[in-house]
């Protein structure tokens, strides 16, 4: 049984050799481990490896293949890469390229001001949206030169995260 697991910028190949009771024999990128692997509670794991103690918290993410993982000192984003995920990643590749044409709300908040209009020519760096959340105002700027094609929000609107606000072409 083997998959790839991506954490931060590393993609590791993992192969399970044996898992019986709390005994786990497993290879990560060719390195073999024999572990005492205990589930302490839902989402909480204790691993003893050569008597080193690791206490690991696993919090499920948006989907079954994504987890946030806490160790004593660090936090990681982990994702299981199986055939389906690889296919999806390949398909999605094209879509994201348009990202630099749009201004997207990174978090929920309020549109304070839109100092451009549809049809305006804008330069890279020019402010397209002034946005406010949690007492902080941010300016979102054009990533490249272009013309404002769409404005999908109004000044004063409260918007959800990931809402596309302005499209430049």
């Amino acid at each position: 049984m083997s998959f790839e697991v991506k954490i931060n910028n590393r993609t590791a190949h993992v192969e399970l050799l044996q898992w019986e009771g709390s005994f786990v024999n497993i290879k990560v990128d060719g390195k073999e481990y024999k572990l005492d692997f205990e589930k302490v509670n839902q989402g909480i794991f204790s691993i003893l490896h050569d008597n080193n103690s690791y206490n690991i918290e696993l919090i499920p993410g948006d989907n079954v293949k994504k987890y946030t993982v806490n160790t004593y000192k660090n936090t990681y984003e982990a994702e299981i890469i199986d055939a389906e995920a690889k296919y999806r990643a390949a398909r999605l590749k094209g879509v994201d390229e348009d990202a630099e044409n749009t201004v997207v709300a990174p978090i929920p908040g309020k549109v304070v001001k839109i100092p451009v209009s549809i049809g305006d020519s804008v330069e890279a760096g020019q402010t397209l949206v002034i946005f406010s959340a949690m007492k902080m105002e941010s300016e979102f700027k054009a990533k490249k030169d272009g013309v404002v094609k769409e404005i999908r929000v109004n000044e004063g609107d409260t918007v959800e995260a990931k809402k596309v606000m302005v499209v430049v072409e």
């Binding site: 390195k31 690791y54 660090n74």
Partner: protein, 501 residues
Amino acid sequence: MIKKVLVANRGEIAVRIMRSCREMGIRTVGVFSDADRKAMHVLYADEAYHIGPSPSAESYLNMDRILEVAKQSKADAIHPGYGFLSENAVFSEKCQKAGIKFIGPGPYAISQMGDKITARKTMIAAGVPVVPGTESAIISEAEAIKTVKEIGLPVMVKASAGGGGKGMRLVKKEADIKSSIRAARSEAKSAFGDDAVYIEKYIESPHHIEFQILADQHGNVIHLFERECSVQRRHQKIIEETPSPILTPAIRDEMGKAAVAAAKAVDYEGAGTIEFIVDNNLNYYFLEMNTRLQVEHPITERVVGVDLVKEQIHIASGEKLSYKQEELKQNGHAIECRVYAEDAANNFMPAPGKVTHIAIPYGVGVRVDGYIYEGFEIPIYYDPLIAKLIVWGRDRKDAIERTIRALQEFKITGVKNSLNFLENIMTAPDFVKGNYTTHFIDENIKHLMGEEPCQDDCEDMVIITAFLEYLYRLRKASPKEMTALKNNWKDYSRIRSVLKL
């Protein structure tokens, strides 16, 4: 004696105030906006009243509605916390007129200190050092140029009604003076409706050091020593400590006396903070007074041994101060870390969202004030401060070491937060040396943005855990494919933090 307090605030400070009220046997009244029906302060209060829609202007800043609730609930007093209505002279006056005790100073002290030019004049009259500059609002640009020549460049042009970094311009070259004054004026006009500006000498390597004071209704004023607040991002404090690593006993004593004089000059009542700007030669200048409780008040509580909220309530009840200046002493060292829901890597952009998991640090010298819980949705309408870690140590070194331990135990999942950034501050050589100014974050940004790599094989353990959990779930979903794997996990119904207690 006060028997029921309306807390006109939300978040950690509302809960913190209610805790002290509970201990004093005082009933608490909470108020909440649409967004806050399930917020901790509503759950913790004895009574809770809805006061309006989510935006603060329509709820937590709605003076008339809050006074209406105070009357309806028969509250004797209103505690404003910090932010919102806490430094609003009109509200203090409205409370007075309604016969409800405002826990804080009267309208006179608030407005004297709220207007910067007035505050400067008052301080000069009281003999408290202020930053060299103009004593009144700038009338002509020619006069301004003359002043600048007297005090020397660089200078700051500041709005009298200002705050939060708005209506401020740094002037480095003589040629920029006029345009800067015009820009500051226009910004002040649009932000505060008042275009009065003044000029101050710009302090190059400033330390931001403030003194806590307490003043009763009988003219007694004491100070509770200083807090060093120079670690700031976006003009907002993120770490505070006491004692300050740079003050000498003699300067501390002088500044404490100046702080007391400042409070006396405005007939102050309650808890307040005198902020000073201090240069590398320990010259100190009055900057402003915060006429309310500060976010960072717990480090003073820990080191001086005083519950400031209880003292506010005693003072508001008309009691005399129960501490004498000479009885107070700084015992050990305390550090506060402000945990914000924000993304340090993205210019400290606020990060609201749903908290999925919390592990809280415990043990000797550790206090956590917060208001979030697992499953809580942090609203987008209010401040991103979600918790404060207050750590005490025998001395500064001990306090830093303990803070690091506590920050490592502290986990908040579901929303981006400043825990890792705070830990990096604790290990930054300039911070460890105690040698830092308000430029600290800019000067140390590379270290502060770093992430210490996981030691030994622990990254592999993370990978293995995620892998095995996924496998376990697959097995549950399609047991036949997975019969090769045996394991004896039980199915727990809930996720729990083992670092909980």
